[in-house]
């Protein structure tokens, strides 16, 4: 290639044009030397000179070579010789020569340009590839860091969730304790007030025995009421830790339905069982599960006492919930649940009944949760509610 790498561009241009002139002069000398032995030799040599000039020097030197060659051919080889004129007979030949020379120059310089562009593109591509590689590496590192961060966030989330569950449990216990404290404290306050009154009546100058007796009797009533509250709470909370064994849930439901049958009949309620025949064995405390189901049955019956416009129907249903969960539902056609009631159903001491303690559902839920299941309530549209719970089967993981 005719470019000297460290020469200034002006010098390099001159060198390229000089090379073109030198090559055409060489072609001219060779043509003159061989003009007697080969017919019309200029064709080959001048063509070679033009090709080389264009290839090595570019379009400019190529065109210079074409002009120089044309003049040389006109002067030295085209009749009339030694003049720049061309005879009409030789004109087509001469024009063809010039046209070929120009065509060759254009072709070669186009080729060169394409090659240069290609080379440049390749160089750029290499740079781009390198850049991309770095980008990719950075992105990869960022991704790894993000994954790490996400893992840590998930761990924190897990911990928070566990903490929340614990806090909720404690809050429930706290609420329960506060409510029990109130329930017990109230009759105790009555006992103290009446006992003090009794003493005061006796301490008068002339003791008023009738008043003292009345007060003492009221004190006794208060104490009885306090012990009743405690007895009720104890009967509901005893056996807090389940004694687990293999339980066939359908058997438990049949037994419970039999227990509730009498109350159902008294209230004109029909109990229907829809028990799935192939349920896995449950690992749980059958007495506690029975307590829960009985509670739901009694609640259901009571919810239908005021219903007159539709059949009073209580449906007890069992079905597989998933591979290792069983679902038990108790569906009534009673008064249903308002949103407000639904939100507070499972709060301790919440009740819609005049004589209720409001402990049944709260304790039922803690029993089911102690079994690793879930207890919840749903409205059946216009009439009634469905209470349902899930319990894991014997072979579910974690049991």
């Amino acid at each position: 290639m005719g470019r000297k790498i460290d020469a200034p561009s002006g010098v390099r241009a001159v060198a390229r044009y000089a090379l073109a002139l030198a090559l055409v002069t060489l072609a001219l000398s060779i043509s003159l030397a061989f003009q007697n032995s080969i017919g019309n030799p200029f064709w080959f040599f001048f063509s070679a000179a033009v090709i080389l000039s264009t290839w090595l020097g570019g379009t400019g030197p190529g065109l210079l070579a074409v002009i120089y060659s044309t003049l040389a051919v006109m002067y030295c080889f085209m009749p009339p010789l030694h003049s720049f004129a061309v005879t009409p007979r030789e004109l087509p030949y001469f024009v063809t020569f010039v046209a070929c020379e120009i065509g060759v120059t254009q072709l070669i310089s186009w080729r060169r340009r394409t090659e240069d562009a290609l080379r440049q593109a390749r160089d750029e591509l290499e740079v781009k590839v390198a850049e991309r590689t770095i980008d990719l590496k950075n992105a990869n590192e960022a991704l790894l860091k993000q994954m790490d961060e996400q893992r840590r966030t998930e761990e924190t989330l897990q911990a928070t969730r566990a903490e929340l569950a614990r806090a909720t449990r404690i809050t429930t216990i706290g609420e329960l304790t506060a409510s029990i404290a109130h329930e017990v404290n109230q009759p105790l306050a009555a006992v103290v007030a009446n006992a003090d009154a009794c003493v005061a009546w006796l301490a008068r100058e002339t003791p008023d025995l009738a008043e003292a007796r009345t007060a003492a009797e009221r004190a006794t009533q208060g104490a009885t009421r306090a012990s009743e509250v405690i007895a009720r709470i104890r009967s509901l909370i005893t056996k807090a830790t389940p004694e687990k064994s293999r339980v066939q849930i359908n058997r438990v439901i049949e037994q419970t339905a039999a227990l509730g049958e009498r109350q159902a009949a008294n209230n004109h309620v029909t109990i229907r069982l829809e028990l799935s025949p192939d349920l896995p064995i449950v690992f749980g405390d059958s007495i506690q599960l029975q307590q829960v189901i009985l509670n739901l049955v009694v609640n259901g019956i009571e919810a239908m006492t005021t219903v007159t416009d539709r059949p009073k129907m209580l449906v007890l249903r069992t079905e597989p919930e998933s591979k290792c969960q069983i679902r038990v539902s108790v569906q009534d056609s009673g008064i249903g649940l308002t949103e407000e009631v639904k939100g507070r159903l499972f709060e301790p001491f919440f009740t819609t009944r005049a004589k209720g303690m409001g402990m049944g559902l709260s304790i039922s839920r803690s029993i089911i949760e102690a079994h690793g299941g879930r207890l919840w309530a749903e409205s059946n549209g216009s009439d009634g509610a469905t209470f349902q719970f899930t319990v894991p089967s014997e072979d579910s993981p974690g049991i």
Partner: protein
């Protein structure tokens, strides 16, 4: 004027507690009336006698604290003794801030309650006496003519007869006559007494806002 026997109002939604407290308070010879709710109490007729309120904080409907605020807003100044099942601090602070006389936790010791009741009644008695006296003074002061009232204002402000005469555009002799009427009508024994009564009336008016007997 002989005052009526004092009366204690007991408001608690729990009948057994209500009866016990009533019996206890009656045993020391006090009159007691019981109510199952704040609404019942508000609807009842109250005798004009020294009184106090024994009030359960936690009640269905209007709570004890609500009733306290309502009584205050209605200008019914009865001392309140609160009884609460769960003596939580914010609630008692609030009650005391609103002027509760005492805050007792259930179960209340009989003697504590009786002491609180006696103190509250004594306080109500003296407050009532104060209000009554203020009312008497007010009645006397209101019997003055507009001119006499103007003279009174300036006398109490410490002006001399001559200065009063100048300011009101009358003769010194006329001022003297008005002044004598003022002393007579208000039953003031001296100038100092007159000033004291006038001050007392002002503070009483400021304190109660409305004139309740």
């Amino acid at each position: 004027m002989k005052e009526q026997d004092p009366i204690v109002f007991v408001i608690d939604d729990d009948r057994m507690i209500r009866d016990g407290l009533q019996s206890l308070i009656r045993s020391v010879g006090l009159r007691v009336e019981t109510f199952a709710s704040a609404q019942d109490f508000l609807g009842a007729k109250r005798p004009d006698a020294p009184a106090c309120l024994v009030l359960d904080v936690r009640m269905p409907g209007l709570s004890g604290l609500d009733l306290q605020l309502k009584l205050r807003d209605d200008g019914i100044p009865i001392p309140v003794i609160f009884i609460t099942g769960h003596g939580d601090i914010p609630m008692s602070v609030r009650a005391m801030k609103e002027g509760a006389h005492e805050f007792l936790t259930k179960p209340v010791r009989g003697q504590d309650l009786l002491d609180a009741v006696q103190k509250a009644l004594a306080s109500d008695r003296s407050l009532r006496r104060e209000r009554r006296e203020a009312n008497e003074i007010r009645a006397r002061f209101e019997s003055l003519t507009p001119r006499e009232k103007e003279v009174l204002e300036l006398v109490v402000a410490g002006l001399l007869n001559k200065q009063i005469a100048d300011q009101l555009g009358m003769s010194e002799l006329t001022v003297k006559t008005h002044r004598a009427h003022v002393m007579e009508k208000t039953q003031a024994e001296s100038l100092a007494h007159l000033v004291r009564m006038s001050e007392r009336l002002k503070t009483a008016t400021r304190k109660s806002g409305s004139t309740s007997s």
